[in-house]
């Protein structure tokens, strides 16, 4: 079906639109009243919405302010964490510590040899004193 309009369609459109444009006064007046009633309805909805929006906006602003204030208080402990982390890194990367871990077996043998050369003093209960 072609979308082109035929002269017949143009004529019917012209007749129909002419008839709509030349309505009697009473009908035009009733249509205007109907339009104003519809606009009054939307105006009423609008005023109701604004009446709700003002307290809702104030409440939202208050909640936001509370969140912002809480965020400011929470900032203080958070800032100390990087300092602690830096200290940890210094301890872990110290050269002497690493050397100690590399010679761990030597330190274990040294400890054993020392305990064999110098046995621990017997406790009072073992020596039968008391």
């Amino acid at each position: 079906m072609s979308d082109e309009r035929t002269p017949f369609e143009d004529k019917t459109q012209s007749v129909l639109r002419d008839s709509a444009e030349h309505l009697d006064g009473h009908t035009r007046s009733r249509l205007t009243q109907a339009r104003h009633a519809a606009l009054a309805e939307i105006e009423r909805h609008r005023s109701q919405r604004v009446r709700w929006l003002l307290p809702a906006g104030a409440a939202a602003a208050a909640v936001l302010a509370v969140f912002l204030l809480q965020g400011r208080i929470a900032v203080a402990p958070v800032t100390t964490e990087p300092v602690a982390a830096v200290e940890d890194i210094e301890l872990m990367t110290a050269e002497d510590s690493l050397e100690m871990y590399e010679n761990l077996e030597f330190y274990a043998w040294l400890d054993q040899a020392a305990s064999e050369d110098f046995p621990a003093e017997p406790t009072e209960t073992e020596s039968g004193v008391g």
Binding site: M1, T32, A34, A38, I42, L53, G57, L64, L68, V75
Partner: protein, 216 residues
């Protein structure tokens, strides 16, 4: 640390001021603009909508009630929707109201049709005020007679059409909606709109070509 706190204070103060301004002024401004747009839209369609309803239900008072109801429904339910959506939505509501009216009338005629004083099947008022039927004088007398006669013939032919063909023809031809918007207003597919419209045009052409030829 103190710089951060100061900036947060400034941010919260700005947001509070902005939100207060939003609720009081910009919302008000947008709403008023929307109401003005709706007023312009309704003024632009009200006369044609009335003619569509009047031809469909064949009664001036019922047609005025239908148009008023469609306007109220559009404002109430879809007033906040974007302006470009109003036209198909308005005609969808209008067509639904027309169908409701036709159904109510059919039931009323079936139930109370045997009682005297009830409106006839065509739905015309028996007590029409003749002063309300006075036409606008902005056209010349000869033109008015020609247009009036052509309209009478067209209206008679339109009333012979099936309801869906009449809907498609009035929306496509008189209101100038495209196929997609007509389909949305009628609640059917674009293919159905094309079919209904094509059949309506063929029927009207068959009935009116000779009659209008005699007028001109």
């Amino acid at each position: 640390m103190s710089a951060n706190a100061a900036s947060l204070d400034r941010l919260s103060a700005t947001l509070l001021a902005h939100m207060s301004g939003l609720t009081a002024e910009s919302v008000e401004e947008n709403s008023l603009e929307h109401v003005r747009s709706l007023d312009q839209f309704l003024a632009s369609v009200e006369k044609r909508a009335f003619q569509i309803a009047r031809i469909a239900v064949r009664d001036t008072d019922d047609a005025l009630d239908i148009v008023q109801d469609a306007m109220l429904q559009l404002a109430r339910r879809y007033g906040q929707r974007p302006c470009e959506e109003w036209r198909p939505l308005f005609y969808r509501i209008l067509q639904n109201r027309i169908r409701d009216c036709q159904r109510r009338r059919m039931v009323r005629n079936k139930v109370f049709g045997w009682l005297p004083g009830i409106r006839n099947a065509a739905g015309e008022n028996e007590d029409t005020d003749p002063f309300q039927q006075v036409q606008d004088d902005r056209q010349g007398p000869t033109d008015r007679v020609m247009t009036g006669e052509a309209m009478n013939l067209l209206e008679a032919a339109l009333r012979e059409l099936p309801a869906r063909q009449l809907e498609a023809f009035m929306l496509r031809n008189m209101e100038g909606l495209d196929v997609a918007a007509t389909a949305q207003a009628m609640g059917c597919t674009e293919g159905s709109v094309k079919t209904h419209y094509s059949r309506a045009v063929h029927t009207l052409r068959d009935r009116l070509t000779d009659a209008w030829g005699e007028l001109s």
